[in-house]
């Protein structure tokens, strides 16, 4: 497997990996073995690490973590959704499906949380039905309500709080994606498997 380590400033490195699963494994190993690292951030197929003082060679840890494991990382999480979003009709038109089929395909897939970003607790979920891969809106909305379930490109996601957003809105969930008072604050972590359930 090919791994490239790129510099990310004087206190960081970006490790490029073959896929997201490798990134999840490498990040977990780095967290366990290098508690002195400040941040270990999974991307689509990368891990960004940052530190305060001198960092030692990360190569050995990365190599060992790349040995594939049979162990499944992550939990299974069901997210209840009321499918009444403002873009349901447009997604049906873009995909040539009926609204019922859009809902059936969205609830029928097992999504995997690939990485978090954009907002606290916002997980980019991959593994969704390929027929539902629709482009994001050309003009993003200035306000998408927290709890909105949406799709764009290869991803599904749930907006944790009111924020601007360019994804296509399918429905909403009462599940809190992020709560600073909870431990851990984010509902989802990379590697978790997510199923949307029509409420």
């Amino acid at each position: 497997m090919s791994v490239t380590v790129r510099r990310a400033g004087d206190r960081g490195s970006l490790i490029e990996l073959p896929d997201n699963a490798a990134a999840v494994r490498v990040a977990r190993r780095l967290r366990e073995e290098r508690p002195d690292l400040v941040d270990v951030v999974i991307g689509h197929a990368t891990v960004l690490v940052t530190w305060i003082d001198e960092v030692v060679d990360l190569g050995v840890i990365v190599e060992r973590a790349l040995v594939p494991e049979l162990e499944i990382i992550g939990r299974s999480v069901d997210i209840p959704v009321t499918y009444d979003g403002p873009d349901l009709d447009e997604v049906a038109r873009l995909t040539g499906l009926s609204q019922e089929e859009v809902v059936a395909r969205h609830t029928g897939a097992v999504h995997v949380a690939a990485f978090l970003g954009f907002q606290p607790g916002f997980a980019y979920l991959t593994g969704g039905d390929e027929l539902l891969h629709v482009p994001r809106r050309e003009v993003p909305r200035t306000q998408v309500p927290g709890g909105t379930v949406a799709i764009a490109g290869p991803y599904s996601g749930v907006y944790p709080r009111d924020s601007p957003g360019g994804w296509r809105l399918l429905g909403s969930t009462p599940t809190a994606m992020f709560d600073p008072a909870r431990e851990p604050p984010a509902l989802l972590a990379p590697g978790d498997r997510v199923r949307f359930v029509a409420a």
Partner: protein
């Protein structure tokens, strides 16, 4: 307990401390004082423990009223029009955009995820302060240290400060000329800059790859280049991941200077590392 009342917040007045490092994997930005050197110095001057929360004023300082005598240090951008008759009038910021108002005892607001910092991107922490807001001042007795505080660095920036950068992580996504251009031309700071990022105006940096970059982690100081080709220098409230390639990253020792760049300032970059 001492209280302070915000009589006038100025352009933007936020509570800041050392922020929320270590939570980027949850999508939580680092936040914290944009000029950490000035913030740390202010806390030392009033004898606060490291990490005590202070106020960060932006371009135009606040008017504050305290309910009893207290000790305050102003650091960061110079404020030549300070008045202290009955209330503290900080006035405009000169030679930078951010002045820290460090009060002995620190600002006591409820911490969120271990920090009292206002995060403008995500809304974590206290909202930007408004007229009439009342803040508690901590009662931990401050001890001004006996040892020398060290040389106070001059805060007035040269007319065109030079920030040192480490190329990458995606410099190979650009033409060789792009990195050269980044480090030869002076860049102008756009007025649509904030704690999330500083927009830079100048020649468009040309991409060698036109693929879409899959989202990856971002560091403070990253020079992210969107489709327009004009870089954005990410500051403390930056999103934790993004899909625009980063051509270079400002060295961490130079980030405090980046945090003082004002709209219409020019800035240069030099490769170092």
């Amino acid at each position: 307990m001492t209280q302070l009342e915000v009589v006038r917040p100025g352009l933007l007045l936020t509570v800041q401390d050392r922020g929320r490092p270590g939570l980027a994997h949850l999508g939580v930005p680092p936040s914290g004082a944009a000029d950490p050197d000035a913030y740390e110095l202010g806390n030392r001057l009033v004898g606060n423990p490291p990490g005590a929360a202070a106020l960060e004023a932006t371009m135009d300082g606040p008017v504050l009223r305290f309910d009893r005598p207290t000790t305050v240090a102003l650091t960061g951008a110079t404020t030549p029009e300070v008045r202290t008759v009955e209330r503290l009038e900080v006035g405009r910021c000169v030679g930078g955009v951010r002045t820290y108002i460090c009060v002995r005892g620190g600002i006591e607001v409820d911490p969120v995820l271990g920090s009292r910092s206002t995060d403008l991107l995500t809304g974590l922490g206290p909202a930007p302060l408004r007229t009439g807001d009342v803040l508690e001042i901590g009662s931990t007795p401050g001890v001004v240290p006996d040892e020398p505080l060290g040389t106070v660095p001059g805060v007035r920036l040269p007319d065109t400060p030079v920030l040192r950068v480490v190329p990458g992580p995606r410099d190979d996504w650009f033409t060789a000329a792009a990195l050269e251009m980044l480090c030869s031309e002076p860049w102008r700071v756009s007025s649509s800059s904030n704690r999330v990022g500083i927009r830079l105006e100048g020649p468009a940096l040309e991409r060698a790859h036109h693929d879409e970059l899959l989202s990856e982690g971002l560091v403070t100081g990253a020079l992210q280049v969107p489709a327009s080709g004009e870089p954005i220098l990410l500051l403390n409230d930056h999103p934790t991941t993004g899909g625009y390639p980063v051509i270079a990253v400002v060295r961490s020792d130079d980030l405090p200077r980046a945090g003082q760049l004002a709209p219409r300032d020019s800035v240069r970059f030099a490769i170092d590392g």
